[in-house]
Symmetry: C2
Subunit: 134 residues, 2 copies
Amino acid sequence: MAVVHRFIGTDTAFDWEDVHSKKYDDGAAKGASGKILIGRDEGAEHFVFRYFLIQPGGHSATRDYHAHVHGVMILHGHARVTIEDQVYDLKPRDLIFIKPWEHHDLAAVGDEPMGFLCVIPNKEMLAKLEEEAK
Amino acid sequence: MAVVHRFIGTDTAFDWEDVHSKKYDDGAAKGASGKILIGRDEGAEHFVFRYFLIQPGGHSATRDYHAHVHGVMILHGHARVTIEDQVYDLKPRDLIFIKPWEHHDLAAVGDEPMGFLCVIPNKEMLAKLEEEAK
């Protein structure tokens, strides 16, 4: 049956019922945490919805680089998104599609945390994409 | 290169730069319009981001039924989502994952339009899913 996650967060830190936070710190990220919103647990086989919360001054992994794409909607705060040598200042509801093998990172600028929705293909597709890119 | 669509809408009718509306009226829907936000034009091969705007009293196709899944985030307004015989009243930022072959529709209740983000697998995957389901 369909799975519902009701919003229980605040305007500056989104959260949902029955969704658990995952520390997202691979050394290249700073002040970042992530949650899987719709993924394998919900029965999703084709894509994964994730939410990332970046603390002021923080950022996702610097110049992250991989085969899989990102479909992103900024949800709150002020984002500075760097794609290769291009910098985009984005606001809530702005969208960005990040293509394969584009160096990218998303930073929170200003005094508020920044949050965004990030959709990726699922694990099997990632494996396939990585394989194809070899 | 990455594609950005900046938000240029209002709180009750979302819109983005360089995104075009598509009338969505197959007879089974009422007061509904859709926009493709991230899809083939943006270079997305693995999923499609769509935005649907439902006018007060309107709804998506009644008891829509198909192999492909929906990942949904309510963006504004008050949604009444019916999945088979289950009814969910959802608010902005609530999430719902609709599984294959679940009868579903999303209606706008109250005086305001309701808008939601709906992610689906892309066309090739849909074709594959439909084929597998035969």
